[in-house]
Symmetry: C2
Subunit: 334 residues, 2 copies
DNA sequence: ACGTCGTGAGTAAACGATTACCCGGGCAGG
DNA sequence: CCTGCCCGGGTAATCGTTTACTCACGACGT
């Protein structure tokens, strides 16, 4: 594979000149530039990014560590990140931590070792340790979930208020025994949504009934099982409406509802977090709390890139808001 | 940031010994190993992956270039790739080419420059140029779509046979004016599915009517417009059933169908490529051709890694088959 | 006319690891 | 007892760039 010295030899100049000509940093005689470019083309020269990065002590790569590649919320977010990064010549490495603290730690190590320019992280838990990064001056932006100990930028959604709003909406529609299906304890978004659920009950002057709350993994399977339990009325009377904390869980829950021979809306009110293109198509069209996933990605990427260029900025906290999209699954009279 | 010489100084040995102790390559006095490990820990030493890669002339990174991050088919595939790569210590860089030849070319350049160990590619068109990679000996595996000129491994689905099967299924259900909504001309999967559609019509002894075929981008928006046209009966009588070439298009088409006040199954038969967790939940539950996306990812990753270790293997072509999952959207009597 | 300054290009150091090569000492075999 | 081999560990070359430093040359100001 051709190296810079091959090009230099062919063009009859020094490697320094080749480097300068190709990078256009310092002014080089146009005639020489022409010779160099010509020689590079003839040899099919492609600079060795490894050597360049080693010398420059920087890479044009940002790592995006998320907890589930198959979750449309995160893919939309990834797309936002990618679009911003791509536009300024950065590449995005997508790492799938899978809600697994161990995998997450490994990816953080890799990010340190590969000296990425910055890390976008959706922490699996509040205990996630990013000191390995911050101590080395690698900028970190927390996205979707906060990172309490570290003084990092973060881009969040006011998920608690959104959950509250969803409950108020359900109450206004006439549902009274409203349950909640949320994620594992310790995952901030799961806990916040549960807190918002309680806020909502309080606002609507409905009684809290612990038997109407279930936790499961942010996956379809667990949600389905939990939903089946709830519908069987284990531990009390069954709910007449539900707030579900994410997209994948909604699918599991809807399967359980359909297996129980019930229909969303008329038989049981359903509101789920995360809009999806198919949400209007299901039977009944699903009421959702739409999070601005793509926008979160763009904002987070911009923050990260800004910090790469100026590490002295004070940490900021951006909170975007979610939007309730009422459809038939929360309408008992449709 | 601590370097290997800092560790060497602290442990009172040479950098060579540190390297050997930490990598366990050659035998080192256990007492020294202990001293080195201790020193490394105290300094919080993390090896500089850039320097290591430069010296070793290799990276433990594979690039996965796909055409749409938001397409669940590709995310499932990515997951398969990731699981395999991760298990043997490789990282996966996910690049979103967005069905855009230009972006794709840029990512291929980046892959060359960063000297990735290998590339998994779902080419945007048959014209995709991977010479930059093959000439440098970087292994390439084509996935989902073939790469005609290059002698690369490929992992494909027998999508033509699957399309044919879907049409035969629709014909058996009694539909007679079966249309097809496929992707842009030149994208192999789009063309293959169309060919399979024609095969199916022939098998079922149905007449081909060009006015029942539409092409659009592999996105919801284009499919919705095309479907609206078809339902308006532009250029002939409208279809009584449809084969749709991917998941995102199915969503667009279903929206158009619902806007026209029709219901899948009874009013118009629908079969779409790609299963999705929500497919059983929509009204009517969607009949699909399920592709083994995750498995394709694992197989492709294994092939790529095998070739990284032994570049002399002959190129192979793995063809997996898809499976028709009949649901109510292709049942006129349900 | 002379010193100074700017400009363009070359020389070589540097980035931080891995590893080829070499050296010294201990041990076994003749 | 001597020779040669093996083994552990140090020295320094190496990977391919970028860039600090240096130098030569021409122009310009006094």
């Amino acid at each position: 594979m051709a190296t810079i010295s091959d090009v230099a030899a062919r063009a009859g100049v020094s490697t320094a000149t080749v480097s300068r000509a190709l990078n256009g940093k310092s002014s080089v005689d146009p005639a020489l530039v022409e010779r160099v470019v010509q020689a590079a083309r003839e040899l099919g020269y492609q600079p060795n990014g490894l050597a360049r990065n080693l010398r420059r002590q920087e890479t044009a790569v940002i790592a995006l560590i998320i907890s589930d590649v198959e979750n449309p919320f995160f893919t939309a977010l990834a797309r936002g990140v990618e679009d911003v990064a791509q536009a300024v010549g950065y590449s995005v490495v997508l790492c799938n931590a899978d809600e697994n603290g161990e995998k997450e730690r490994r990816y953080i190590d890799v990010a340190v070792q590969e000296r990425v320019a910055g890390v976008l992280l959706s922490p699996t838990s509040t205990g996630t340790d990013v000191r390995a990064l911050t101590e080395r001056g690698t900028p970190v932006v927390a996205v979707d979930r906060p990172l309490p100990q570290a003084a990092t930028d973060s881009v969040l959604v006011d998920t608690r208020a959104a959950a509250r709003e969803a409950i108020v909406h359900l109450a206004e529609q006439g549902y009274t025994r409203i349950g909640c299906l949320t994620g594992p304890s310790g995952i901030p978004t799961a806990d916040e949504r549960l807190a918002g659920y309680r806020d909502g009950l309080r606002s609507a002057r409905l009684r809290r009934d612990p038997s109407l709350v279930r936790r499961a993994e942010f996956r379809a399977a667990g949600a389905r099982a939990a939903m089946t339990e709830l519908l069987a009325g284990e531990g009390g009377e069954r709910p007449d409406a539900l707030l579900i904390a994410n997209n994948a869980m909604a699918i599991g829950a809807l399967v359980a509802i359909s297996e129980a021979g019930l229909r969303p809306g008329t038989d049981i009110g359903v509101v789920s977090f995360d809009d999806a293109p198919w949400a209007p198509l299901i039977d009944r069209p699903l009421t959702v709390v739409a999070q601005p996933a793509y926008e979160m990605g763009t904002v987070a990427a911009q923050l990260l890139l800004a910090r790469v260029n100026d590490s002295s900025r004070a940490p900021t906290r951006t909170t975007l808001s979610a939007r309730l999209i009422p459809r038939a699954s929360s309408n008992p009279t449709a």
